[in-house]
């Protein structure tokens, strides 16, 4: 990957990530998040993780974020008018994250950061290689994930379903 591409993507993803937490309108936050996700997806692809990069777009941007959008609509969220969180909290949050990032960087940017290279096969990052791993080494994780998804579906339905006799506080907001 060329340096300019990395810098480009890094800037986009950082700026849009900041956008997520400073925008007042939830929809704008969401779009910023989508942009981050897309930038990262491209970065993934550039890092030879083609399949995962596309999955990132399909699953994250294409499905999860749309779900978020739906909920924003469903709840009819408007831009926050009042202050978003107390000043003290903001201050604390900024300090805390600055500390976190400083610590992480100080650790991660050390020159002697050693990572051993295992060896890249020709099929690195392809669907074939991914599936091969998925259905051998990670079989149990894969199966467990299916159950996780089932549980999540059941759970989401159980919660979002109205309780018998419960009425929605607002009527008829959906087609």
């Amino acid at each position: 990957m060329a340096l300019w591409l990395f810098v480009f993507l890094a800037v986009i993803s950082l700026v849009s990530a900041l956008g997520v937490i400073v925008q007042r309108n939830p929809v704008h936050c969401l779009l910023a998040l989508v942009l981050t996700i897309l930038a990262l997806a491209v970065l993934f692809i550039a890092l030879d993780a083609t399949v995962v990069g596309f999955l990132q777009i399909i699953v994250y941007a294409g499905a999860i974020m749309v779900l978020f959008l739906f909920v924003i609509w469903l709840l009819n969220l408007q831009a926050e008018t009042g202050p978003t969180g107390s000043l003290a909290l903001k201050f604390f949050g900024t300090i805390a994250s600055a500390a976190l990032v400083a610590e992480l960087w100080s650790f991660l940017l050390r020159p002697h950061l050693k990572v051993k290279y295992v060896g890249e096969s020709a099929s690195y990052g392809t669907l074939g290689a991914l599936s091969q791993k998925l259905f051998t080494d990670y079989l149990i994780a894969f199966e467990a994930t299916s159950i996780l998804l089932l549980a999540a579906i059941v759970g989401a339905v159980a919660l979002a379903r109205r309780a018998p006799g419960q009425r929605d506080s607002r009527q008829g907001s959906l087609p």
Binding site: M1, A2, L3, F6, A10, L14, L18, V20, I21, C29, L30, T36, I37, L40, L43, F44, A46, L47, D48, A49, V52, L55, Q56, Y60, I64, L67, F68, F70, L74, L75, T84, G85, K90, F92, G93, S97, A98, V101, W105, L108, R110, L113, V115, K116, Y117, V118, G119, L130, Q132, K133, L134, D137, Y138, T145, L148, L149, A152, L159, A160, S169
Partner: protein, 102 residues
């Protein structure tokens, strides 16, 4: 690719992670808090991919696959919960949730 050092990638990932943490701490809108969590997960994904690339092992990518799946499941449940709380309380501001002492 070898032109980009691993540390830069991890640094980027750390920065995004920290932004997510900051959002989680600073924002009071539950939905935006949730989005911040998604940011964190994305940062994690980036770290996995970068490390996997450097290690030359596919494991990291497989894990990212799982993380995405889990994120999807989490989103479904989380949004379900948000809807249910909105139905009860008509708010998604964390500060308004004071029935239980926070």
């Amino acid at each position: 690719m070898s032109s980009i050092p691993l540390t830069w990638l991890l640094g980027l990932s750390a920065a995004i992670f920290a932004i997510g943490v900051a959002g989680m701490i600073m924002r009071r809108n539950i939905l935006v808090m949730f989005m911040s969590i998604e940011l964190m997960l994305n940062a994690v994904n980036l770290a996995f991919i970068a490390l996997a690339h450097r290690l030359g092992s596919m494991d990291g990518q497989v894990i990212v696959f799982f993380v995405m799946t889990v994120a999807a499941a989490e989103a479904a449940v989380g949004l379900g919960i948000i809807i249910s709380i909105f139905r009860n309380r008509e708010t998604v501001q964390a500060d308004d949730l004071t029935l239980l002492r926070w």
